[in-house]
Structure formats: structure tokens, C-alpha cells
């Protein structure tokens, strides 16, 4: 064991700062990243033992002695951050990492290469994690929890300084930053802020999407898909969520399940049904009855299923999109009714009596008067789920001779 005499503890801190200085002067990106990783146990030990020896130790001065500007500031704040983490002071830790990052960016902006990008990414990750921790502490104390919001602003600062540059390598972390911002905006329910990021990703100045690691592409597509669901753009939602599902590693079944949670309703709206095997494999029980009801056209059962799980669906953000399935189920029932009518009366195969449809609805427990039945069917026509017209006087729907039930997608 290392002798813990006086001075040995300060020496650890000194060694740490010397290593930092060496990394900075030699532009060793990987080493710098390690040193600025809040999870680095050696760095943490160096700081805590120094603080244990002298809590009022002047970190700023120490850093100034050993490090060139502005890395002296960077490491001074970083040590402060580590100290705060060690003492469980979440808000202080977040404040410190914010300062660290801001100081870091000041230098990064001026660099002609991206040698220190990895370190910056580590700082960003730490900032987000510490913000969440700080907010948890604030909420527990009955105070306003606004640190995650501030982390978002910090990330935007980093994004701007890594994306708006002629140094192409600096943009390597761009998708990571975008995805991190998505996560923050989703947590804060400020979804409208995501649009600008998507626009930025689609700019020609943004690096090729393919060049980024798979996991980032998957995460990005997941969020874009979810946003498309909120905007009722199901084609786009399906495209993105499918990409996310297919490219998500099978080593992350929880993530695959998360994607399916949104992909299944989207596919149902587009007229495609998941297999029972898929639902079993990913443990999507709440969707099993929904899928069955939509298939059978069981309007009432679907209503019950949506009611029963509504809190879950609301919390997951699938509530509004699942409501759309009522139309799909109603159409399925109408289609069955049509088949029935056509079989009974082949001469008038393209006509469906609204009274008969009313009976079908009543039979599955969703009885309503004839005016409302007519309204419901008119709505299906209006939304182009059925092609035809309503004859109000005779209470009959006259279907188009061909393509009366266009494909949903």
C-alpha cells in the first residue's frame, strides 16, 4: 500500500494535474478524455484525498501552476465537480460541470483539429447525468427542478460550437449531441424544440448519416419516429420506427420493446398486424387485446381495452394514436357487414343497409341510433377509409364498384 503520510495526498492531486498538463501539451485526446471522465476513480481519489487533507485547498492556484490556459480553469472546475459529487452536493456538481464545459468550449472553438472532442463528449454526458441528479434532489426538497432545462441550454452551446465549423472532424459528435438533446426535450415535454434539430440533421452540411455509429442512428430514428406519431404522420413514423427496430441490437430487448410500443399502433393504423409471437416475445400484453379487437372489428371490446389501460397509454404517450384505432376497428366491422349483406343479396352487392350495420354494432355491444350510425359511416367515408356515398333517405351506403375498402397505408 501507498504510505499515506502528509503530502502524499496532495501528491496524488499533483500527479493528476501533471498528467492533465502532459495530455494537453501533447494533444492526447484519448488521455484527456479519460482524465475528464467523472467516473475516473483515480481522479476522484486524487481530489478527495487532497480535500481531506485541506478542504480549503486552492484548486484554482494549483491548476494555474501546472496547466496552460484555459485548461487551468477547466481542471479547476472539474476538480470542484468531483469534490461536490463525492460529498453528494448534486446542485453544486452540476454548476461546476457547467463551468467546466463552458471553459472547455472556449478553447475548443479555437482549435483547428478535433483532438479534444472525446473529452468534450464526456463532459456533456456528465452534465446531463448531474442535471438529472440535481433535479431529483430539488424536487425532493419541494423546489423547482430546472437543471435539466439548463443542461439543454448547455448542450445547445456545445452543439453550436461543434457543428458550425469548417473543421469536419468536430462534427463527429453531432448525432450524439442531437440524440442527447432529444432525450432532454422528451423528458421536459418541450417537443417543439426537436424540430430545429431534425432540420439541422437534414442540412447538407451535416455529416453523412451513415457515418455515425449504429446505436446513435437507431436512437435518432426512434425519436424521429415518435415525433412523427405526435404529428399524425404515420408513414414517416413507420419508416423511422421500423429502422430503429430492425437495427437495434438484439442484446437490448428492452429497447426493442420500447420501439415496438410505438411501432405496433402505427402499423395497426396502416392496416398491418403484428403476430402473436412478436407480442409474446417482447411481452406486449397490453396490445394483445387491442390487436384482436381491431382485427375482428370488435368496437366495444376495443373501447373497453383502451379504457382499461388508459393511464398506461397516456403515460407512454400512445394514448392519442391508439384512439385512432377505433376507426380501423369500425371499418373492419363494416367490411364484415358488407360481406354479409352481399352474400344475402348478390344483386345489390355494393349496397349496405345502415340498419343491418346498426344491428352489427349493437351485437358487439356498441349500439347506437340510426342517425349516429349514419354519422359514423359518413365519417369513415370522409376520412377515405371507405369509398362510396350515403343515401340518407333509404339509410343505405352505396359502395364504389371497385376499391370500396382502400388499403389503409
Amino acid at each position: 500500500g501507498v504510505p499515506w503520510g502528509a503530502g502524499a495526498t496532495m501528491a496524488a492531486l499533483g500527479q493528476y494535474l501533471d498528467a492533465a498538463s502532459a495530455a494537453v501539451r501533447a494533444q492526447e485526446g484519448a488521455q484527456l478524455a479519460r482524465l475528464l471522465d467523472v467516473a475516473n476513480p483515480d481522479a476522484m481519489r486524487a481530489v478527495t484525498s487532497a480535500l481531506a487533507e485541506n478542504r480549503e485547498v486552492n484548486l484554482g492556484a494549483l491548476c494555474q501552476q501546472r496547466l496552460p490556459q484555459p485548461h487551468d480553469e477547466v481542471f479547476a472546475f472539474h476538480c470542484q465537480c468531483l469534490g461536490a459529487i463525492a460529498e453528494g452536493r448534486a446542485e453544486d456538481a452540476f454548476a461546476a460541470v457547467t463551468s467546466t464545459t463552458q471553459a472547455f468550449v472556449k478553447d475548443f472553438r479555437l482549435q483547428e483539429t478535433a483532438w479534444s472532442l472525446d473529452a468534450l463528449v464526456n463532459l456533456v454526458k456528465a452534465a446531463k447525468a448531474l442535471a438529472e441528479r440535481a433535479d431529483a434532489a430539488l424536487a425532493a426538497a419541494g423546489k423547482k427542478a430546472g437543471k435539466l432545462h439548463d443542461a439543454g441550454a448547455l448542450l445547445m452551446l456545445v452543439y453550436r460550437n461543434t457543428a458550425n465549423t469548417s473543421v469536419q472532424e468536430k462534427k463527429r459528435a453531432s448525432l450524439f449531441l442531437v440524440v442527447s438533446l432529444f432525450k432532454i426535450y422528451f423528458k421536459l415535454n418541450t417537443l417543439h424544440l426537436c424540430k430545429n434539430l431534425i432540420a439541422a440533421v437534414n442540412l447538407p452540411t451535416f455529416p453523412s448519416f451513415e457515418s455515425f455509429p449504429s446505436s446513435q442512428k437507431v436512437t435518432y430514428s426512434y425519436y424521429v419516429g415518435r415525433l412523427a406519431v405526435f404529428d399524425d404522420d404515420y408513414a414517416r413514423a413507420e419508416k423511422n420506427l421500423t429502422y430503429a427496430f430492425e437495427h437495434c441490437s438484439t442484446r437490448h430487448p428492452k429497447n426493442k420493446k420500447l420501439v415496438l410500443r410505438y411501432l405496433v399502433p402505427v402499423k395497426l393504423i396502416l392496416g398491418r398486424r403484428p403476430t402473436k409471437r412478436l407480442l409474446d416475445k417482447y411481452d406486449l400484453d397490453e396490445y394483445k387485446s387491442v390487436v384482436e379487437c381491431v382485427r375482428k372489428g370488435d368496437v366495444r371490446e376495443l373501447n373497453d381495452a383502451l379504457q382499461k389501460h388508459q393511464v398506461t397509454f397516456i403515460m407512454q404517450g400512445t394514448f392519442l394514436v391508439l384512439e385512432k384505432l377505433r376507426d380501423v376497428a369500425t371499418r373492419a366491422l363494416f367490411q364484415k357487414t358488407h360481406a354479409f349483406c352481399a352474400a344475402k343479396n348478390p344483386q345489390k352487392a355494393n349496397q349496405v343497409s345502415l340498419h343491418v350495420f346498426a344491428k352489427a354494432l349493437a351485437w358487439c355491444g356498441a349500439g347506437m341510433d340510426i342517425d349516429e350510425v349514419e354519422c359514423v359511416v359518413a365519417n369513415l367515408i370522409f376520412r377515405k377509409l371507405i369509398k362510396g356515398y350515403v343515401s340518407h333517405k333509404s339509410r343505405v351506403v352505396v359502395l364504389a364498384k371497385t376499391g370500396a375498402f382502400p388499403p389503409l397505408s
Binding site: 484519448a30 488521455q31 478524455a33 467516473a39 475516473n40 476513480p41 483515480d42 472532442l117 472525446d118 463528449v121 419541494g142 423547482k144 427542478a145 463527429r172 450524439f176 432525450k183 422528451f186 423528458k187 415535454n189 417537443l191 417543439h192 431534425i198 432540420a199 437534414n202 455529416p207 448519416f209 451513415e210 455509429p213 449504429s214 446505436s215 446513435q216 442512428k217 436512437t219 430514428s221 425519436y223 415525433l227 405526435f230 404529428d231 399524425d232 414517416r236 419508416k239 437495427h247 441490437s249 442484446r251 437490448h252 429497447n255 420500447l258 388508459q310 393511464v311 397516456i314 404517450g317 392519442l320 384512439e323 342517425d371 349516429e372 354519422c375 359514423v376 359518413a378 365519417n379 356515398y389
Partner: protein, 411 residues
């Protein structure tokens, strides 16, 4: 409501004011993002990566450009590539006004209006109608009539300028009581006065950071009054020819702010495990919030995702309450274009909920008419029949038809 006279709204209200423009077809809003689909090619599957060891140099990855260590994999976060976004309570709007540098004040004014303000306004001939003794002028009031005015500027506030809790309770009570007095004065004039003076009450509450059950009660009553007045004044909209008319969207904005403050108070107490003293009121208030977000109304624009945001930040007990379920049913019926279900829900709703739903009557009738026009075979339909389907009178049906450019023939 305390002594508020309210006429029966009846179906005749409001239809006379359909939106200025014919409604667009009820299609889903288009996603406005860029196509950008060229990016979704077949990417290389992510390689299995060893868990990153702190202190070890992360292995460079095979695909070029991704040498940012294990950045994307987030293995540190327990292998989660993306987190479930737990719902969070909404960050509160800045409805609480705390000017920089001041801490919470404790008011000492026991009157409805601080005497210094009363003097000041008297000298400036700024005493409003209700503050004057009968037959009085703009320059005199007394302590039983003067009520503190709302003011945007709140620096240098001294305790004597801020009302105590009992004074605030007395003020609110007095203000609502005015609705029963002076029958010769139009409701709109009373409403404008109340709107301003109640806003001042709210301001005094927030200056003192009063957020307990007392504050909740006062705010809840303000919400109810605002909802009521929205309906009462729906035909008195401010226009170029009527500049002193009712500014619905300003009223609704204030209403929304009050609801947000309330929600913050309820959430705050729930977060501290205290639980609200008034679960039914909380549910009622939340139902108003949802009802107001069913669709845009007048100049108040509503984004569809706002409703989902609201829902996600509510507690299950509130979500499953009767009031909120009714609001959800109304929302469902409205967006399903099911006018029958919609009016059924209206029948089941409370008077105040109906006041909010009333905002959508014209729109849903317009859409119903549009739907009928688009999906029914070409025919002439008797106005009475149209009226029946639209749940309105024959006169209203005729007006609506004309407004949407349909021909009405006399037989």
C-alpha cells in the same frame, strides 16, 4: 358560484358566430419536417462492444468517423440506448411574479385597496364606475368601494400595498357579489372590472408566495368565473366596430395561466406527499384545462400535442376522475366528428364544462355539414332535417349553410 345570476345558454348562443373562414377539411395536420428519408439506408449493424472500463482507453471502432469511443452505446447507462421518458410535472410557467432582489413580502393592507393607491387614483380621476358612490365622480371613492387595481410594475412594493389573506378573501367575495348588484350595468362592464381586480388578487397572492389551500380556493373560483364569462360574452366579441368588446383570447390566456398556477400548487403538494385538500376541484380544474385544448378557438391557437403533454403530467387519480373522463370523451367525440356523441357529452357535462364546450359548437356543426355535403349522395335536404342532424335550430342551420356556401332554396 356565489350569487351569480346566469341565464340559460341555450343552443341559440354562439352559432351566430361561426369562424370567419370556412373550415378546412378535417384531415390530420401534416408533419412539417423535411423529407430527409435518403438517410435511412441499410447501415452497418453495430458491433458488440465490451463494457467500457473506466481508466482504460476505449477501443477504436471499425467504422470510420465513429471513433468517439463508446459514445453512442451508452453502455454506462445500463445498456439503455434510449430511456423511457418518465413523465415529469410541467415546469411551471412564470406565473409567479418575483421581481429580482425581493424576497416574499407579507402584506399588511386590511382593506380591499391600499389607501395610498386610493388617494393616488382619486387625484388622477382614475376611480372606476363600481368604485364610485352612487352618482359619484371619477375622483372620489371610499374604503368600502375601492379595489386594488392590477399593475404590471411591481418594484418597490411595500407591505402596506399588499393585502392580507382576510383582505383578499373579502375582496374576492365582494367582487363576485357585484354581479348581483347594479342590474342596469351590462355584464361585460362588470366582467372587465372583475377581470382586472381579480388579476390583482392573484398578483397579491403571488407576491406573498401564498400557495396553500386558501390560494387554491381563490384561484379555482377565478377560473370558474372566467369560464362563465367566456360563455356569457361570446356574442360581444371585440371587433373594429366594437373595440370595447370582449377579448376572448386574452381572457383565455389569463385563464390558462391561472390553471397553470393551480396545477403547480396541486403538484407541489402531491410531490411533498401532502395531497390536495380538494380532489374534486382539482379534477374539475384539470377538466377545464383539457376542454380548452380540444381545438383552437377564436384567436386562441391550440397545438394537438399540448393535450398529450397535459395528460402525461397528471396523476392517475385525476385522470380517472369523472370530470376528466368527460373531457376526454368530449375530445374523442369532437375529433371523431361524431356530433351525436359530442352533444350527448355536452348534456352530461356540468354547466361550466358546457360553457367551454360551447366554443366548439360552431366548428363541429360546420364539420358535420361539410361531411354531409361530401359523403351524402347528391340531394336536397330539408333544412329542418339538416338542423336535426346538426343539433341546432332551422335558422341556425340556414345561416351555417349559407356561410359554407351551400345553396338554400325556398320551396
Amino acid at each position: 358560484m356565489d350569487g351569480t345570476p346566469h341565464g340559460n345558454p341555450g343552443p341559440s348562443r354562439g352559432v351566430g358566430r361561426p369562424d370567419g373562414r370556412p373550415d378546412a377539411a378535417g384531415g390530420p395536420p401534416r408533419f412539417t419536417g423535411n423529407a430527409g428519408d435518403a438517410r435511412k439506408g441499410r447501415g452497418r449493424r453495430g458491433k458488440a462492444k465490451p463494457p467500457s472500463n473506466p481508466g482504460q482507453v476505449p477501443k477504436p471502432l471499425e467504422n470510420a468517423g465513429a471513433a468517439v469511443g463508446d459514445v453512442g452505446d451508452d453502455e454506462e447507462e445500463d445498456g439503455e440506448v434510449y430511456e423511457e421518458d418518465g413523465f415529469t410535472a410541467d415546469l411551471p410557467e412564470v406565473a409567479v411574479v418575483h421581481p429580482p432582489g425581493t424576497t416574499h413580502i407579507t402584506g399588511t393592507c386590511v382593506l380591499m385597496c391600499p389607501p395610498s393607491e386610493r388617494d393616488f387614483r382619486s387625484r388622477k380621476n382614475d376611480i372606476e364606475l363600481f368604485e364610485r358612490p352612487v352618482g359619484g365622480e371619477r375622483n372620489a371613492s371610499d374604503e368600502t368601494l375601492a379595489v386594488k387595481k392590477y399593475t404590471r410594475i411591481v418594484d418597490n412594493v411595500t407591505p402596506d400595498m399588499v393585502r392580507t389573506k382576510p383582505a383578499l378573501a373579502m375582496t374576492a367575495s365582494y367582487l363576485y357579489g357585484l354581479l348581483d348588484q347594479r342590474p342596469e350595468v351590462h355584464f361585460m362592464i362588470k366582467s372587465k372590472f372583475l377581470w382586472d381586480r381579480l388579476r390583482s388578487v392573484r398578483q397579491d397572492l403571488s407576491l406573498q408566495a401564498i400557495t396553500d389551500g386558501f390560494a387554491e380556493g381563490l384561484l379555482e373560483q377565478m377560473v370558474r368565473f372566467a369560464v362563465l364569462s367566456e360563455h356569457e360574452l361570446c356574442e360581444e366579441a371585440a371587433t373594429v366596430n366594437n373595440p370595447d368588446g370582449h377579448n376572448s383570447h386574452l381572457n383565455v390566456e389569463q385563464l390558462a395561466k391561472t390553471l397553470t398556477s393551480l396545477r403547480h400548487m396541486y403538484d407541489d403538494r402531491a410531490a411533498r406527499g401532502i395531497g390536495t385538500e380538494r380532489p374534486r376541484a382539482e379534477a374539475e380544474m384539470f377538466s377545464f384545462q383539457l376542454l380548452l385544448r380540444i381545438d383552437s378557438h377564436g384567436r386562441y391557437n391550440v397545438n394537438r400535442s399540448e393535450m398529450l403533454n397535459d395528460l402525461r403530467s397528471a396523476r392517475p387519480a385525476v385522470l380517472l376522475s369523472h370530470s376528466v373522463q368527460l373531457a376526454l370523451a368530449a375530445n374523442r367525440a369532437y375529433h371523431a366528428n361524431n356530433i351525436f356523441e359530442f352533444f350527448r357529452v355536452v348534456q352530461q357535462s356540468s354547466f361550466l364544462q358546457a360553457c367551454v364546450l360551447h366554443k366548439y359548437f360552431a366548428k363541429i356543426r360546420g364539420r358535420a355539414l361539410e361531411m354531409i355535403n361530401a359523403t351524402y349522395g347528391k340531394q336536397a335536404m330539408p333544412l329542418v332535417e339538416v338542423a336535426r342532424l346538426l343539433h341546432c335550430s332551422a335558422e341556425e342551420a340556414e345561416a351555417l349553410a349559407a356561410h359554407h356556401g351551400l345553396t338554400v332554396q325556398k320551396r
